[in-house]
Symmetry: C2
Subunit: 291 residues, 2 copies
């Protein structure tokens, strides 16, 4: 039996499956402090019989380098209690091989294997919610450098009519997460994007920010497809507006997909809330086969 865990800012998911893509049991637990959260996740996995491998898609920043002495530890974070928490130690008792990647890389892998990225050599996945992040899968493998990517903090130009927006990022006055994440939208407009009245300028402002990431991804990774997921992306009309802004911004410099309106290039996630946990099951599967 393969096991998988996905952790997020407010909730975590544990799942069991004979094979990735066929989730047999799926349990959600709230994200509180690490000891309590890990104990609940262990309970969720605990009585299913022997587990052959565990894959983890963890909220960042997390040490994903298997050669590092702190592999599987949460790195510098403002999330109370989590800095230094060790997934590797917490689940060592399972006695099985384990692989950890960032949550968004896990979701990218899941969409590549079973969702909107199937059949493509290189895809990117962007999540837009409490935070903003992106991952890339290249020939079936998650791409990382010395750590997982941190694309939420790319510099963006403020939207023309948005000069006075304040960034909610504690470090960057000018980053994408600071100006376009869910909390930023709430701080700016007093409502979530989907609560704004139809035709409200907030949708276009948001799309112009996310299109800057789409342009950056296009030029820095040349993916065949960019998949957008996360809570904010449930807003009707947002993905179409991102396509328009991206097309206008690239100005025809690069072919992106075959459809002139980028509808086959910038696409919604198709696994919904299961992208991350599906990717985590694929990580378990790869940990098993690499053993």
């Amino acid at each position: 039996m393969l096991a998988a865990i996905e952790t997020g800012g407010t909730k975590c998911v544990a799942a069991l499956a004979e094979a990735p893509g066929k989730i047999q049991r799926r349990i959600e637990v709230p994200t509180t402090f690490p000891d309590e959260t890990f104990a609940r996740l262990r309970d969720a996995l605990g009585n299913a019989g022997p587990i052959s491998a565990l894959g983890i898609a963890a909220f960042g920043p997390v040490d994903i380098d298997p050669a590092s002495p702190t592999y599987g530890e949460v790195l510098v974070t403002s999330k109370p209690g989590w800095q230094g928490a060790s997934y590797r130690n917490a689940f060592a008792g399972l006695g099985c091989p384990l692989r950890i990647e960032s949550d968004v890389s896990g979701a990218c892998l899941g969409e590549w294997g079973f969702g909107a990225g199937q059949g493509e050599n290189v895809i990117a996945y962007v999540t837009v919610g409490t935070g903003i992040g992106a991952g890339v899968v290249h020939n079936g493998a998650i791409l990382n450098g010395v750590g997982h990517y941190e694309m939420g903090h790319i510099k963006v130009s403020r939207a023309d009519d948005d000069g006075k927006a304040r960034s909610v990022c504690p470090l960057h006055d000018d980053c994408l997460e600071g100006l376009a994440s869910g909390p930023s939208i709430l701080a700016r407009w007093g409502q979530s994007l989907s609560e704004l009245a139809q035709g409200h300028e907030g949708l276009d402002v948001e799309a112009s920010y996310l299109a800057q990431l789409a342009r950056t991804l296009t030029l820095t990774h040349r993916p065949a497809r960019i998949i957008f997921g996360g809570g904010v992306m449930k807003t009707p009309g947002l993905i179409e507006a991102i396509r328009r802004h991206t097309k206008s911004s690239l100005a025809g410099y690069i072919d992106c997909g075959r459809a002139g309106d980028m509808s086959d290039y910038i696409v919604p996630a198709s696994l919904g809330d299961d992208a991350g946990i599906t990717g985590a099951l694929m990580l378990a599967d790869s940990a098993l086969s690499e053993q």
Copy 2:
């Protein structure tokens, strides 16, 4: 004998070597029209005896997908006569395996193998000259998506005191190449960067633009090191100014190297004008071993 070709906007280099890193013959020819240029390059390689493999680092855009019917062809370009020119056809007569990558990817590979990127798992190489481009080498291999990267065209925010600068890019009013390439510097200040008086604001403006690429590379690829090369980078003080701007822009969000001043993270190219041709010889070597 391995053969290599590097093509650029004004000149091309052909080289022969028993092994990459040990160039035995190096010949430069001017870049004119493709037929003439290719003929001179063939002559340069021609009388050295049998060639076992050819590596090419070509100015972009060029089709680098071996599975494509137009592999080795120059793609849409404003360079007169070059669109559709085929490296593969031009050098088919050598009867040896061949591999083509972009010039900047080739230079990145060269610096990884024999220059400033040795020993690192992931490095990026940026060239700043007539154009601006960047390549990434990941575990010894050049990274590409559906095509080679096009990082020169990332969107940048104008420097605070630079609001009126005009972009020299025909497509983008706001891209790095348009605002920070050699021709852009000349158009803005009437002189090259190294000709400006000491203390001229142009140096800081240029560094602020290039630091935006360094930040983007850091967040999108997490390299262990970013290597800057190309003619503009010969300007004294420029690399130090890029480090300062990058450090300030990232605001401590990510550790970049061990030195607090980024002097081991943002570094000058060490192979100088031989980075590209050295990488092209490594491409020849890999074409041979993959045969």
